[in-house]
Amino acid sequence: MAPVFTRPTLATGVRLRHDKVRDQTVLLFPEGALVLNDTAIEVLELCDGERTLDDIAAVLSERYEGADVKDDVAELLGGIGERGLVVDADG
């Protein structure tokens, strides 16, 4: 089951990097890389272990003219969290 987060943050040893050769942003982790789309990048950049899921959704909602994005954010983090790449700062 996909994990549900309170204050999500990238797990130790997981980092975002711009790949200049392919002009894309990738999530790097032990022996792997995940190509991210723009939404995923925005969400992960907000995962600082301080903001709650609601805080993250609120920031994005403001950027996108009040759209309700909370479910999308939770789903995206759940998917990445299933691989242990995002963890809960409170957990």
């Binding site: 894309q24 990738v26 982790f29 991210l36 995923a40 995206l76 759940g78």
Partner: protein
């Protein structure tokens, strides 16, 4: 190895033509305190050419060239990479170039001050090999007394907050303990556990009959792995590298020849995989003479089996149209089992040489002898 998957994110199509590499495998030295009989290093590691190890300055340049070429992941391996006295400087060079660095180590040695220095230099990830979960059997397989030191090394890696991967190569003499190996990795606080069924390259080819498990052993092992994955979830990612002698279609070896990965040997020779130096007539380039980009894009060796144009039958007109997915399997295995590096990997059910695989399976299933077959241990001197 470097993988691109679509979990929670949209895939971006790779550029057309020759892809840029994602992974650099840096074999810093073939010196190693362990003697594992399945080592993927060449069987002639004692040869004079490998004693002429690439100086640290050259490695630092290679890391920069790799980053410029699009490499994201760096595996610092060997042999034992900690045997290179410049290991900290090499990690610094990796960090400066934005590479994600993994130290692939036997953890022999793994001294605290040196490992702290690696951490400060920006090392991203530590992978420690284990041979078994039982100390005496582990030391017997590795050919040296190592188990307790590995346990201490894993604790140190955790203390320094490194993400930790435990790697255990599986074979006839340890696969029945897979459950206890998983529990050991859990106790050691590993994030990932690589259970790599032996691939028959390098020293493993010499030891194939002693290493190859029975089908029943594999099936039991796989069942345990599946159940443990369910129990552990994201707390411990368990990789199960398929035993290709028991598959009917081949693996896309290295993700395809010269597709994702580039490997540099201790002397600076550049290869598309660990075993490619075994292919006769393949002209090897060296980073002392040419840039990594030149070698990747233009060399005869990297273009020899790239893509699908070089293929023979049955790959060329694959009955299940899988040639773009598995790239005909492993070139080195094709060579070792058929004498032709351009043949279809005999693991494939459509290979005219598939009977070689079937008979190896049959032999593995014969009743166990009183004494297990002896190992030929990896050794620099005898090779």
């Amino acid at each position: 190895m470097a993988e691109v998957t679509d979990t929670g994110a949209e895939l971006i199509a790779p550029p057309p033509g020759v892809p840029n590499p994602l992974l650099l495998i840096a074999e810093l030295t073939y010196r190693c305190p362990l003697h594992c009989p399945y080592c993927s290093n060449p069987t002639d590691i004692g040869a004079g050419k490998y004693q002429d190890e690439l100086p640290a300055e050259d490695w630092q340049r290679v890391f920069r060239e790799a980053a410029d070429l699009g490499v994201l992941q760096l595996a610092l391996t060997g042999g034992e990479p900690m045997a290179r006295k410049e290991i900290v400087e090499l990690v610094t060079a990796s960090t400066e170039n934005g590479l994600y660095s993994t130290l692939v180590t036997s953890a022999m040695p793994f001294p605290k001050r040196r490992v702290e220095a690696l951490h400060a230099a920006g090392l991203d990830h530590v992978q420690i090999s284990f041979q078994h979960s039982d100390p005496a059997l582990a030391d017997e397989i590795g050919g040296t007394i190592a188990f307790d030191r590995k346990v201490k090394a894993a604790a140190l890696a955790k203390e320094l907050d490194f993400p930790l991967t435990i790697n255990c190569v599986l074979h006839r003499r340890n696969i029945d303990a897979v459950g206890s190996i998983i529990q050991m990795a859990e106790r050691l606080g590993a994030r990932r556990l690589e259970l790599a069924n032996t691939q028959y390259h390098g020293w493993a080819t010499v030891n194939r009959d002693a290493l190859m498990p029975t089908r029943a052993q594999l099936e039991r092992g796989e069942e345990i792995v599946m159940a443990e994955r369910e129990r552990l979830g994201p707390n411990l990612e368990i990789l199960w590298v398929l035993p290709d002698y028991y598959e009917e279609v081949p693996k896309p070896c290295m993700g395809g020849w010269a597709h994702d990965a580039v490997l540099v040997q201790p002397n600076g020779d550049v290869l598309p995989c660990q075993a490619a130096a075994s292919i006769p007539g393949l002209k090897l380039e060296n980073v002392r003479d040419k840039s990594l980009a030149e070698i990747w894009f233009e060399s005869e060796s990297f273009n020899a089996f790239r893509g699908t144009a070089w293929m023979q039958e049955p790959c060329r007109t694959c009955p299940i149209n899988r040639q773009h997915e598995d790239f005909g399997g492993c070139r080195c295995q094709a060579l070792a089992l058929t004498g032709d590096a351009a043949a279809t990997d005999p693991v494939c059910q459509f290979s005219p040489h598939h009977d070689v695989i079937v008979s190896a399976r049959r032999e593995a299933d014969e009743p166990e002898p009183e004494q297990p077959l002896p190992f030929v241990y990896r050794d620099l001197i005898k090779s």
